[in-house]
């Protein structure tokens, strides 16, 4: 439900609550995470410009693409960028993240500021907050933050410091919402779990055909691969305020850098069996139990046969 995600980010945080946080994750079999990320970005930007969202500004931390790419992208999407410096600031961690290019003057525009040391996570946090406050002032007005790829951040800094940055951003009074992109293949499960722990919505892009227990489609299914290249499943898990988890599923199609979400007609016929103990009486035997039952030797059943065996042996 991409619309619900965009609406949740648009509505932002309630008073006294931490900001909603979205994790977008993908994997190698369905590498459309960036497309979803940019879709969410363009939606939020148009909401900010139209004044419909709680936040009045957006700070984008760009690790994977240059700021000019984002400016062009927003232009293509029809977002008005002539006044862009008033509502968007891009922190450029792409051009020179580790400060190797000394003396090389980077192009700066009124939307982009460069970061020369991405390893210093504290400095990064304060820069993001400064940029945001530069957009919206120091009062009660809020801004949103987007991180191009948390996977990139974790290459340079430890998971705990990046988690600290994200949770501090979430709990900051002036942050309305944040969202980030994560490539789950690049990390151990624990790292992915840590970022999902911090977020209130988890959107994952998965391939349409998953074999067995999540194995990726192998080389024998080439035709399938080509067909499903531009399509994938879009699962979202919302952590609602009442403590329940809302699960939704859609189909996502990527065509020529345009992203479409269509609802899926399939039903969620699975009961979450892991959740509840055997509350229901199950009078059917499973296959294994049937075989075991057939193998049981009852004490008095084969008496005659055993004796007969004794005589014949």
């Amino acid at each position: 439900m991409a619309d619900s995600i965009c609406r949740a980010l648009r509505d932002g945080a309630l008073e006294g609550e931490h900001a909603p946080a979205l994790t977008i994750k993908d994997n190698i079999a369905s590498p459309f995470g960036f497309d979803v990320f940019s879709h969410v970005l363009s939606q939020l930007s148009s909401n900010i410009l139209a004044g419909k969202s709680q936040s009045r500004g957006l700070v984008l931390v760009a690790f994977r693409r240059s700021p000019s790419f984002y400016v062009d992208f927003l232009k293509r999407k029809g977002v008005d960028i002539s006044s862009s410096h008033k509502w968007i600031q891009i922190l450029d961690c792409y051009s020179d993240p580790l400060g190797w290019k000394d003396g090389f003057s980077l192009e700066t525009s009124n939307v982009a500021s460069s970061c020369k040391n991405v390893k210093d996570v504290h400095k990064l946090l304060s820069t993001i907050i400064e940029l945001g406050q530069g957009l919206v002032g120091q009062g009660k007005v809020r801004f949103s933050a987007a991180i191009d790829s948390v996977s990139e951040m974790v290459r340079h800094a430890s998971v705990s410091s990046v988690s600290g940055l994200l949770s501090n951003l979430r709990s900051h009074d002036q942050v309305s919402s944040i969202f980030w992109l994560l490539h789950s293949d690049l990390h151990e499960d624990r790292v992915t779990a840590a970022f999902e722990y911090l977020s209130t919505m988890v959107a994952s892009v998965e391939p349409l055909n998953q074999f067995g227990n999540g194995q990726r489609s192998n080389m024998n299914t080439f035709p399938l691969l080509e067909q499903s290249f531009a399509k994938g499943k879009f699962h979202v898990r919302f952590k609602r305020r009442n403590g329940r988890v809302r699960v939704a599923c859609e189909e996502v199609r990527v065509e020529q850098s345009d992203v479409n979400f269509t609802s899926v007609s399939s039903d969620n016929g699975m009961i979450n069996e892991g959740l509840i103990p055997k509350v229901q009486f199950n009078l059917q035997l499973s296959e294994k139990e049937r075989i075991d039952r057939a193998n049981v030797v009852l004490p008095f059943e084969h008496q005659g046969q055993m004796l007969a065996k004794l005589w014949t042996d």
Partner: protein
């Protein structure tokens, strides 16, 4: 004195009558243990009285739901209402902010008694307070009745805890985010627990430690699993020899499986909370009362101190509901076809099943 009290079990402490009326907030348990309340009345009943002093209670969080915070809040509020010192550690930068979210006791009796106090003249009030300290047997009937009822309060999650319970009480807050290693937290716990060491035979005051999300990713050494395990082990030892209860919550999905198992073994009482999916038609058909449920609570282990007999519960899974959206109640799970009426609370029902495997000691 001792002869008049019935003997429970083969070992029972000869407690004299005067100290059998403990300070409110403490209750005698079997085998010479003392209970303090968890803040949730149903949970106290399930655990057989409350949390035993000297036990380490651990709650496995679900990454998708904040139900562990409900347990934490009730635990902390109960301690403050009973004037028990509290040490609270959390991974956020400002732990004091969490104190603002603590619920207040919802029962009307408490409101009446506090109003009465403020109305009395100062002179009389002082006299009454002295009476409470020096002569426990001559407590007025009203306050006696209150103290008996007050062992566990029903907390109203919609009302914040009154200021009088927060000011002037001993509440220490620790933020675990910036500390480089666990030594600081360990020392704070040790200093706090030294006030409650078990020297005298009677317990005068009990302490509470609440640690939220011990292995949260913001915590600097969520990578150093052996260090955290040693911290837990040391905490367990310190708590066992003092009159305090430590409640630690942790998200087990963020730990490796073996580490998570080790942590679970460390606990004296182990609970876990789970989220439930929203608008799940299958679950709604399967369980009654699904509409009001916000989550599930599993009791994995119950502390038994000074005894070899384990506690085997009839049911281990309970649903967490908010009664009137205010009060936390735990109910046994009832399956829809057999019991069409709404679920009953733990003390009255015995009809539902927990796990299908019975304990090995069940005959």
């Amino acid at each position: 004195m001792a002869a008049f009290r019935p003997r429970i079990g083969s070992f029972s402490r000869n407690v004299s009558a005067s100290s059998s009326s403990l300070t409110p907030g403490l209750k005698h348990g079997p085998n010479g243990t003392t209970f303090i309340s968890s803040g949730v009345p149903d949970l106290d009943k399930i655990l057989g009285g409350g949390f035993s002093l000297g036990s380490l209670v651990m709650v496995i969080e679900d990454a998708e739901a904040p139900h562990h915070l409900l347990l934490l809040r009730n635990f902390m509020s109960q301690g403050l209402v009973h004037n028990q010192p509290l040490l609270y550690a959390s991974p956020s930068k400002d732990p004091r902010g969490f104190l603002g979210t603590l619920p207040s006791a919802g029962s009307s009796k408490d409101e009446k008694s506090s109003k009465r106090d403020s109305d009395e003249e100062k002179g009389l009030r002082i006299a009454w307070q002295y009476k409470k300290y020096f002569d426990e047997n001559h407590q007025s009937l009203d306050s006696n009745r209150d103290s008996k009822k007050e062992f566990c309060n029903d907390f109203d999650l919609r009302k914040p805890l009154e200021r009088q319970f927060l000011i002037g009480k001993q509440i220490d807050c620790v933020s675990t985010q910036d500390s480089q290693n666990l030594v600081a937290l360990h020392d704070r716990c040790a200093a706090f627990l030294s006030q409650f060491s078990r020297n005298e035979s009677s317990v005068s005051v009990a302490g509470r430690i609440a640690i939220q999300s011990l292995c949260a990713p913001q915590f600097v050494h969520s990578d150093m699993e052996w260090d955290m395990l040693s911290f837990l082990r040391s905490l367990k030892g310190m708590v066992r020899s003092s009159n305090a209860v430590a409640l630690v919550t942790f998200p087990s999905t963020l730990l490796s499986l073996s580490t998570s198992k080790r942590w679970q073994h460390m606990a004296d009482t182990l609970l876990s909370v789970k989220a439930i999916p929203d608008e799940d038609k299958d679950l709604a058909k399967l369980l009654t009362g699904y509409q009001d449920m916000i989550g599930l609570l599993n009791v994995h282990k119950v502390a038994r101190i000074n005894t070899q007999f384990p506690v085997i519960l009839e049911a281990t899974t309970f649903s967490i509901k908010l009664q009137k959206r205010r009060f936390l109640v735990l109910e046994c799970l009832n399956q829809a076809p057999i019991d069409g009426s709404s679920g009953s609370s733990y003390s009255t029902s015995g009809s539902c099943s927990g796990s299908s495997r019975t304990g090995t000691l069940d005959f």
